[in-house]
Symmetry: C2
Amino acid sequence: MFSSWTLAVGGATAMVVGLCWACAPIRTPSVASPIYGVTLPNGYRDWTLVAPAQEAAPLDELRAVVGNRKALKTYRVGARPFPDGTVLVKLAWKHTPSPDFPPASIPGAATTVQVMVKDSERYASTGGWGFGRFVNGKPVDKAQHETCFACHAARVKDRDYVFTRYAP
Amino acid sequence: MFSSWTLAVGGATAMVVGLCWACAPIRTPSVASPIYGVTLPNGYRDWTLVAPAQEAAPLDELRAVVGNRKALKTYRVGARPFPDGTVLVKLAWKHTPSPDFPPASIPGAATTVQVMVKDSERYASTGGWGFGRFVNGKPVDKAQHETCFACHAARVKDRDYVFTRYAP
């Protein structure tokens, strides 16, 4: 009986998935980062801007941090620490001269997408934050993820381990 | 009769405004730009990022362009021209060294907010775009607004007069 029900539900699911394929882009589930198990959050490219930034050579990047609603609400009221469920995503691109306007630089090729997720229980040993660093949608290796928390803890522990300030 | 009706409506409006003052942040209506009559759109600070940019000295700024839904939809499908109702907003801040991480630069004081509104009928003589340039929420003078379209037309006419490309 359970098997039949499962089969029926499975068939219905396949039909729904089939319909969705016809009308929406196919999403490949994000692979989780080592150590933290953080994935690229759905829809982050639509999230609100926290602030842009520039990183000098050798990385030579333009960057933008965006946040989910919890992140933005917390930034705007000036509260710290960020609540559980806060997610911040930093997008980065090569810093490239504008072909249209010489004084300007614009984003070139995308380089990394970096994610911070607040879960004070799950990530108790790293200030409540889980980290993910992605290149072409895939997480980088464990060695790179081992550097995340140490740097944040050394430099911005007093701001709940978050570098980026809100740009009003 | 018309006067009484106007007075009655005026009174009701005052009551509604009074109620709103009690429950929501006070919004100062944006003053319209000269020539174009463009105002700062409500809620633009929550809009989706199109791309960040950097502007070299003497302006020495970090910038970010955000867009409303029509703008983002058009960018993402790669269509041009932008449809009527498209709004783009460029936020700009002084380019400031990060006190936390020497290779990084971050937004300092806000400088200007610049708006482009697509209305192919109203702005037929300027490629369908109306322009607004604001400092501290107020539009700059007519002379500055006279420079907007000439520069966009000279450099990016073939991209519907829009400099900023979408950064994926």
